[in-house]
Symmetry: D2
């Protein structure tokens, strides 16, 4: 049985940042002097106040800042990466996947579309077309009653942005919330939700290291809305498991003992062994 | 630009079988004396005739029978596995995934829900509840105009079956076609489609090694329908890739050169080197 | 621009009831001595407390209790009807539709599937198969992280119920939350959401005049959850309209002047008039 | 039980046209000298050849050319209307709706978004934003393996078009196939499928009386693809109905006798009559 979300519970949010562009490229550092992760964190803090407790975690932290202990108490994780997707350890990716499937919310931002965690959860290449040439981006709402779309104009105007265009190779989303156009003429499904296991995922494309998009008040509003949306409706965190249920008992699941009984395997091996002893030249199918 | 499917083209279908239960368990061999894979193959042959060319591939074949050459000419692959999911090599799984994303159809049958290829494409645990106790299964159509649902009664009756029950941990399907009930009272979304990349996937749960389900005429009809449905609408096979497009050129994509220019990385390293020489005690951020 | 929902705002809920069976059939009156509408109201009150202000409206009230004034301040309307769908005036149906499209939530219960308001909003026949023979109904959750599914067991057990079975002729829902099985073997998509205009709709099938389903604590929990879910995320109520926008002005819509300019129509009529005067026998196309 | 579509069956297609602009506005007549309906018909004929038999029907024909006899043998109906939506009789609209729910395919083109038949089937206002100022439209494919998207470039370029922009007030589509951008910056979900009853519906926005869009080879290809897609997979035409099924008989439905037995109603009326005779002042509930 699920338990309802405690009213007024403070949500623990972790803003994960790759934090490489800011260290290498002066023009990025100029836009984000405290790092993009802190700009994103500040936006969430400013809009959600004491409804959230926000911390940051970085690629260069031990375990990328995403230990089992940290994730176990995280309600929503936001993810921005770009230049160093390959440096994220597979072990941490599988750990994050397990927590998402168990109910942790995940907000994947912009170039995070090509992160290991997003492609692992989607099962597709998550590729797209792109161009970084100062296109104007307009973000249009196509799902006006969705909680993530509240409090922003229609459209949101971003004076300069990297272009991301279709085809975007992701599964059909649960919900399509935003579609962007770019001054060059391309379109992009820029805000989409996905449910995976017990976890809620929101992908939101506006945002780039080369442009001050994470300072944009409407973009901050969407991210804050999505944090509240992605927080699990329950306080229990658990991954789906395969369980056997006896007839007429709907509530007591039993663990898995394997696909074939040990007796059957043993008898089969014995039989094969006997047969082999009798006729070593037999060329039948093997188990 | 896509090219339309050549009318009358023969579809190449590969029926993949684990072929272990049939070798180990006499009661399975009695139900499927030629192996489950040949029973499935025969059903497709009988219903689709010269519209298809069907072959089989087995776990114990070299490369599990799924070499690059085989997959490159396969229109639709059907997958049944159960006892030996772990023995399928990761290399072959990634190869099959690549071909699905490029446009090969995939039909995942029954216990294939827990196969590496299905969990990789879904991104979830693909777990469920189950019981093998001779439940009657009724397969109800909820999408009556779908091509996969044509030519079968409503409901399909399966006298004895393994029970598969909700919650089934898969992403929201593109289309829900069948819902099953079991005499014990459980329900299951037993026929669902998913699009991944350019590939079409159909999961269909009826079918088990312990029961003669793959001899059932209605189940054979659904599988045959799904093979035709999953065949790509195009004759071109290609995986989605990330490409850069110049402004006003929508048709000439350029390959990816990396997230940060070599000059920027070099300059940053030089600057850091100089700074380090000046003051070895500086404790700023590192790249 | 949308404004966010005021935190802590009390939701105005109207429980609409047909209130005929209770008057005519003693066994229904015995189950629901205050009418089904009051039983439903009491469940919402008990679970949502001061977060809601719940009133009832009945078929036999003036304007069925659904005047423009009432609807204008209603956040969520629940609808139960059965024997007298035809007695609901078309004018009130169109009024309710307009308010749903403008953002009012709507919860359609059980036999409300065949109400005028539901078929009008769905565009389909909303027919199904049924049998009232004391089937046990099990309600299984297939969307475990959805807010409507919180706080109830998996499955919900209803000892006796009318059977509703597939095919249920409704559009593909936005979200499938519950699937029911019946002891006779039928299945039904028993909990589904639909978005129409700015309004959110939840259809929930458990509940019948012949059984005490609306006294069932889990059913009451689902209905209460759905009331909170269906309340609009915004405080503004407005119906979508067709508007013309000048180039580069995304925010100032202009009203519609008709499909063809008055000048063009006038000129065409003049021309036709002249032509008619010249040759009355001309048999060309007419405007 | 459903019967499969006869291979090679010729599809009967009816192209419905309002045929008013062509009569009134010389610039429209110049673009479409035979009427828009014939241009659309010719495109389907040219691409599908002897796989279809295409006729036209016009607003000014008796019964708008859509008699019961015509619709009964129509596999797919295309609909273009604009200036005279209100002149379409409600009787014909309900007749077309019935045939769609029974399995006839429907292709709604451009300004048909505001037709009675489309708003009736959708249940929403079907409004949008618009501007007729020679915008360039680009039509991007977001569902590349869909049969309707085959054989066209990505994107389709339309040099001049009326702008249609979001928010487009339609229900969430079953499938989103195309998204358009306009040179003014707006976006529009320009190709969407909907299932209603046993019928398949495709809405496609490119096309206008003021521009030669229906002469565009890619637009003609999409319309031809959609005609083949929308044709029913079955040869049987039937509307969903409400039927009662006895326990353990899944295949014999019984007609509906009304919600309350005649005996119960009679008894209740008798009882009320008696009570009224006894005490005329009683102010209890009324039936």
């Amino acid at each position: 049985m699920y338990t309802t979300k405690a009213a007024g519970r403070t949500l623990n949010v972790v803003v994960w940042g790759e934090n490489r562009h800011e260290q290498i490229e002066p023009h990025v550092a100029a836009l984000y002097p405290d790092g993009m992760h802190n700009t994103i964190k500040n936006g969430i803090d400013a809009l959600l106040g004491d409804r959230v407790s926000v911390t940051t975690a970085l690629l260069d932290d031990p375990e990328h800042g995403l230990s089992e202990e940290v994730l176990a108490t995280t309600d929503v994780l936001t993810w921005w990466g770009h230049a160093a997707h390959d440096e994220v350890s597979d072990e941490v990716v599988l750990r994050v996947q397990r927590h998402v499937l168990s109910g942790m919310g995940l907000i994947v931002l912009h170039s995070g579309h090509w992160s290991k965690i997003f492609t692992t959860l989607m099962g597709t290449t998550c590729t797209l077309r792109w161009r970084s040439e100062h296109d104007r981006e307009l973000v249009w709402t196509v799902n006006p009653s969705h909680p993530i779309a509240q409090g922003v104009p229609h459209p949101i105007e971003i004076p300069e942005q990297e272009m991301y265009g279709e085809q975007f190779d992701v599964p059909t989303p649960d919900e399509l919330i935003f579609i962007s156009s770019f001054s060059g003429g391309e379109v992009f499904r820029s805000g989409m939700t996905f449910t995976r296991g017990n976890g809620k995922i929101f992908y939101f494309s506006p945002g780039d290291q080369d442009f001050p998009v994470y300072h944009h008040p409407d973009i901050r509003r969407v991210i804050a809305n999505s944090v509240e949306w992605a927080a699990s409706a329950t306080t229990r965190r658990e991954i789906p498991v395969l369980l056997r249920y006896d007839t007429d008992d709907f509530f007591t699941g039993h663990g898995y003992d394997g696909p074939i009984s040990a007796e059957a395997v043993g008898a089969a091996l014995d039989a094969k062994s006997d047969a082999a002893a009798e006729a070593a030249t037999t060329s039948g199918p093997t188990a």
